[in-house]
Symmetry: C2
Subunit: 255 residues, 2 copies
DNA sequence: CGCGACTTTGACAGATGTCAAGGCTTGTGG
DNA sequence: CCACAAGCCTTGACATCTGTCAAAGTCGCG
């Protein structure tokens, strides 16, 4: 598929077709989804914990974090969403938000009504399947985050996160192995990595001293992809970005 | 539903209906799923990383861990599955295993062919929806683990895990707020909590000294539920064990 | 030009990891 | 029923990583 018109819905479709096979008609259903766009300011929650929603949020621009938190109020980011991600597609089946969504930088998102998503899914089993599979792919990323936070030291955690983001951005055409726009502060990174802002700073300075990465404004430049992958023990398999080998027949859920 | 016959499929159905509404016929489809049972020895992987599977694993007895690992080989458990859980329902849409499954104690599982699960899903949209929702519920647990490992100290992590397990076991009728059979070693707990076995030991001794828990053979006894919940900052909401408030109409995916 | 947010530093504290050894259970075979 | 082995739990001394606190430096935006 061409990304010459990287509209948000096209990016979302691109994400879906990265691991699901959709017919022309089914693709059109995705592209024709309704929704209303709006802007979110930096550090502003636009979905609050426990809130009941009737729409899902498609990221158009910016960077979105999904937050959990412990009692003392220190926050933990459980997922980062970039343009083309439907940040809470799962809300279609669980309308009350299990975690908050916050914009880490000025962002624009499109609210897509659950009704429309449900209709698309119920009329097109292959679309329903693609939604399910999309959720599974997100869960795989989540599992890798557990490993990252639970079993790697600060340097490896940071390197791993950067590799993941670079790979995901590359998939959307917005960056690649030489770098990408990192729209997060070191405090945000700390929340994602399970570290303190101070220690993130020390860690990043270390990676810079090693000449693995560099910063230029908001741009994170990756100076040595191979060594960064090594430092982060990164193996992109878990991102499941190759289309799953075709199932016999085509639409799993279509009778 | 009665749990007087807590067969594995009945437990699985019970799990599904905890958050999805299924008609009598749809329930029967679940109960009629085929599968062949077999035993797994302690510490034995029965699904290996990257392996391609054509069946999902329903836990009948014992305790199953899903493992990720870093390069040095230290392992991290990303999910624990108890009887009634379909440990890798997601493999229906992603047949190549993204993480290994290992029995933490002698366990028996039932292999349910993907074909049968696909058929059930494609013929009964409400079943497909229940499967999707089940995966979302698992992902919510995963997100909470990220918070646990990333933002809580050893004492709170352990307390939180015990609260989660107690709550999940209670749901299946195999234990409750006064305790449950913990079929894991301290080394397993370390892998689940992102800690060292030695430190898990110190932490558990601390919890025992505080009279929050006690051990009697394989039984973990919870001596003070309230204080344990407090220590673990546990809030069961994320387990989504209340049936989602009914959606308008009933079957979301059924046209 | 000045404010506010973000980054960078340093000194120190505390939690958790590491290593190594000994003691306890439990299951097995004689 | 006893003895043994294997795995598991427990402990202690010490190392290291990461957190805490506080302040100064830098950058971008109005």
């Amino acid at each position: 598929m061409s990304l010459s018109d990287p509209s948000a819905f096209r990016l979302f479709l691109h994400r879906l077709t990265a691991h699901s096979r959709l017919s022309g008609e089914e693709q059109q259903v995705i592209l024709d989804l309704p929704g209303t766009a709006f802007q979110v300011a930096t550090n502003r929650d636009f979905v609050r914990l426990g809130e009941r929603v009737d729409h899902a949020c498609l990221v158009v621009e910016g960077l979105i974090g999904r937050f959990g938190q412990n009692r003392e109020g220190s926050r933990q980011i459980t997922a980062l969403h970039i343009p083309g991600d439907m940040a809470d597609l799962h809300s279609v089946v669980f309308p009350s938000a299990g975690s908050a969504l916050q914009a880490l930088s000025v962002s624009t998102i499109i609210r897509v009504p659950h009704d429309a998503l449900r209709q698309a899914a119920s009329r097109h089993p292959a679309v329903a399947e693609a939604f399910w599979r999309d959720g599974v792919a997100d869960a795989a990323i989540l599992a890798e985050w557990v490993v990252n936070v639970g079993r790697r030291n600060a340097r490896a955690r940071a390197a791993h996160l950067f590799c993941e983001l670079a790979t995901r951005y590359r998939q959307t055409g917005a960056g690649g192995r030489d770098g990408f726009a990192l729209r997060a502060t070191q405090t945000h990174l700390a929340d994602a990595l399970g570290l303190t802002p101070v220690h993130v700073n020390r860690t990043l300075m270390g990676l810079r001293a090693e000449k693995l990465i560099a910063f230029a404004g908001r741009m994170l430049r990756i100076l040595d992809w191979e060594r960064l992958v090594d430092a982060g023990e990164f193996d992109s398999d878990y991102l499941k970005m190759d289309r799953a080998t075709p199932l016999r027949g085509r639409a799993l859920l279509g009778a």
